[in-house]
Structures are given as structure tokens and as C-alpha cells.
Amino acid sequence: MKAILRIVALRHAANKHQQGQIMIGSTTHPKSGTCRILAAAGLALVLAGCAGSNPKDPLEGYNRAIFSFNEGVDKVALKPLAQGYEAAVPLPGRVGIANFFGNVGDLWIGVNNLLQGKPTNAAVDLGRVLINSTAGIGGLFDIASEVGLEKHEEDFGQTMGRWGVGNGAYIVWPIIGPRTARDTLGFGVDMFADPVGYLDRVRLRNSLYGTRFVDTRASLLPTDKAIDEASLDKYAYVRDAYLQRRRSLIYDGRPPRGDDDAAIPGGVLSRAPMEPIDAVSHLVLTRVNGGSGSLLPMAERQ
């Protein structure tokens, strides 16, 4: 059974690898790519029945295969690319590029803040876009941060989390990396809302996708060594860090701490479904999923 699963998983990996490249350079329209990736998510969840004893990670067998595939791709292609970028582009240039993509994302961050019932933060995000797009010369300079308009980090996965939607299964995607089932859907919505995807000039659009991807990878370079050294099992280390990070983001950096007395089997990570944060989200929560906290019950039923 294990062997079959592995073959399925690997073939699956190869297939989705091609889809993953849509993100970084193919000429297919990205929206259709997103849909295919989401459709593939369903297939991935079907594999859930075959694997895993960890309730937090029912797809562990499949995930580990993709994880090592990703590690391989990173080692031969993505990391060298990011290192080359860091060597070739001087710091002010990289800061400008990071700021530019930050500015492109701020409007959608504002929308998510609104959806999460945080209008003050949304107003800050809008202010950031206005200031940085003008005084910041098309977003190259983050003037807004300097005048005290702090950058936020929001996405649609967090918005759903705030509404009370639980993580669902943990899934490692080829190239894209880890996402929970909820955040996979959120990622699809984020892609749909991404202004870059609406550019008609295909080459420009793909260059922007590519640059953003490399910029993101480069920003993670300093943590590579620490993660390699600190972990006993890198797969589990990355998974648990990802889940903690997402949980922290949903609570805007102040998640309720788990019990010191470590009697909770899954630790602080496994406390889903999350408590609704305010009346609005409670309303949505009861309406959207009956309070079950699971977006894709399929993962549990399988």
C-alpha cells in the first residue's frame, strides 16, 4: 500500500510540478492555473485515506514526498537563483523591488482587513497605497512606513481563519510549498485578486511573477541555515512552524498561549476550531459552516 501511495504521490508531484511553473514563467493565463491547482487539491485530499496517524497531518506520506521534491528543486534551482539575485542586485535595488510588490499587495490586504472587521487597519492600508504610489514613486519607496503607517500582513486564508474556518488538512504543494486546505483556497482567492494577474502583456506579467517569486525566496535565505541546523526532522519542523505562524497571523501576532502543562496531545497547534473573535465573525461562522470549523470536511471523512 505504501509503495502504491508513493508512486501515486510522485506521479502526482510530476504533474503538479508543471502546474506549479505557471506561477513562475509559463504563458498560460494564471487564473486557469489557479483553478487547476485547486482542482488538484481535491485529488490530494483523496489520498488522505491512505496515509498517516497524525490527525494534524493526514496526508503525511504524500506531503513528505512532495517536500523532498521541493527541497531538491530548491537546491538546484530556486536557492541558487535567489543567491544570484542577491549578489547581482545591490541592496537599495532589492529594497525597491520588495517595496514595489509590497505596494501591489496593500490594497488586497486592506480588503481583507475590512472583511475581518478591522476598518481602522483597512484605512491605514488604503493610506499606504495612496502615499506610496505617489510620493513613493509607484511603490519603490515605502514612505508610508516612515510616517508611521505600519504595513500589515493579511490574506484571504487569514480572513477565513478569523471567520472561524479551521485549518483542514496540511498540504505541501509542489513549488508553492505548505498550505493548509483552508489556506489553499485562500491562496486561490488571493491569486484571483492579484493585480499582476490582470496585466494583458504576458511577458511583463510573467516577469513580475518571476521577480516576485525570486524576491520572496531571497528574503528567506538567512533562515535556511538556522532551520537546517535546528531541526531533528526538517519536514516536521517546517510543518509545525508553518502552522504556528499561520495561527499567529490570524490572531495578528497575539495568539492565546497554550497551556504550560503540556498535557494537550497535539500541543498548542491543534486547537482548532478557533474561537470566533467578535460578533460579526460569529455570525459568519454560524452561517458559513455551522460552527464545525472545517472548510473541507472531505479531508476528515476520507
Binding site: 531533528l232 526532522d233 510543518r239 512552524a241 499567529s248 497571523l249 503540556a262 500541543g267
Partner: protein, 208 residues
């Protein structure tokens, strides 16, 4: 009399770390230690050129006295902690400490243009468990949140968890440790940690 006073003053000025450790409020403690360590890193050429062993010395001397590794290890091991004998607990804490010190020290060697800001801190005088929040500002990308959990003990406030960008460096080990304990018991976990530390220290001396 005057001379006695002067030498006393001198003696006291030699022990700033000690004075801080026993009396200071937790936020002042973390801030003082951070400033002290960064001050040294900024001027130490060996650390800047990537000497892990030099950074480890610094961490052991300045940072470790303010950490409670038994507490940290208990948190990281979770429910299996109670099934460990006192000797096993001590061995676990020792190995976990070595691993974390190395990771943290390595992070120090890649320190470049970052600055640390501390966020406003409030506590009641009766509090025995607090969170001190700070932020690392860096030239590219957004600031990284860096928080410390401290508990009040007989010897003063001690750090028992460090949370980087929302990820607890301590509880993030829980699943990995549980995995090792399932496979080889507490002794198996101690062995794995020992092996990991030996590998790291070997690759480190090879690099030099």
C-alpha cells in the same frame, strides 16, 4: 573610607549582569541583555566573519544565565516529560540547551544591519509570567516579531520561550520529540539529540 567606597563602586560596576539579573523588571532585563549582546556583536570581528564558537562563548556568558532550560525542555517534550526520570530530564535539558545555543549563536553571526525595538510593556506587580515583545527591523522586508516569555523564579526572571514571527522555538519541537520518544523512548530522544549536536559540532570545526 573613601578608598573603600571607591573600590566597592568599582566592584559593583564589574557586575552589571548580576545586578540586572536579580532586581530588574523583565522588560528591562531583556532589553539590557539584548543591548549588551548586540553591542559586542557589532564590534567583534570574529563573530561578524562567522565564527560560531566565538558567538557561542558570548551567548553562554551573557544570555544563558537568564534562561531556564529545565522549563524550556519540559515545554518542548510535553506529555512525555513526566515519564522521564530526573537523570533523563537532566540529560534532555543539557542536549536541548546545546542545540538551541548553537542555533541562536549562528543567527548572531549573520546579524548585519538590523535594529531591535522594544514594544510598550505593562505588568502587575503580582505577575509571575510575562511576555516581553520586541521587533527586529531590517533593511528589506517587514519587521520580524521577537517575543520572550519569562517566569519569575527565586533567582529573578528567567526566559522560558522565545517566539520568532509567531513561532515558538520551544513548542515547535514537540512533534519531533514525540516522534523520537515513540520510536525509541526517552533515551532514544536523548540519543538523537546527542547525535545531532555531535554532527553540528563536527561540521562546524570542519568549516573553520
Amino acid at each position: 573610607m573613601n578608598r573603600l567606597f571607591t573600590s566597592l563602586l568599582f566592584a559593583v560596576s564589574l557586575l552589571p549582569g548580576l545586578a540586572v539579573a536579580q532586581n530588574a523588571a523583565p522588560d528591562a532585563l531583556v532589553k539590557t541583555v539584548t543591548d549588551e549582546v548586540l553591542q559586542i556583536v557589532r564590534t567583534d570581528k570574529a563573530i561578524q566573519s562567522g565564527s560560531t564558537s566565538r558567538a557561542i562563548d558570548l551567548v553562554e556568558q551573557k544570555v544563558l544565565p537568564h534562561f531556564d532550560f529545565m522549563h524550556m525542555t519540559r515545554l518542548a517534550v510535553g506529555k512525555d516529560w513526566r515519564s522521564a526520570s530526573p537523570d533523563q530530564q537532566k540529560a534532555l535539558a543539557g542536549e536541548f540547551k546545546t542545540l538551541l545555543v548553537r542555533t541562536y549563536s549562528n543567527a548572531l553571526t549573520s546579524y548585519k544591519d538590523q535594529a531591535v525595538d522594544f514594544k510598550p510593556f505593562k505588568m502587575q506587580s503580582s505577575d509571575t509570567d510575562v511576555l516581553v515583545r520586541s521587533e527586529i527591523r531590517q533593511p528589506t522586508g517587514r519587521p520580524v516579531q521577537l517575543d520572550y516569555n519569562l517566569a519569575k523564579e527565586a533567582g529573578g526572571w528567567k526566559v522560558y520561550d522565545v517566539i520568532v514571527a509567531g513561532v515558538s522555538l520551544v513548542t515547535n519541537y514537540r512533534e519531533q520529540f514525540a516522534q523520537e520518544v515513540r520510536a525509541g523512548g526517552i533515551d532514544g530522544l536523548v540519543k538523537s539529540l546527542k547525535k545531532r549536536n555531535a554532527e553540528l559540532s563536527a561540521s562546524n570545526s570542519a568549516a573553520k
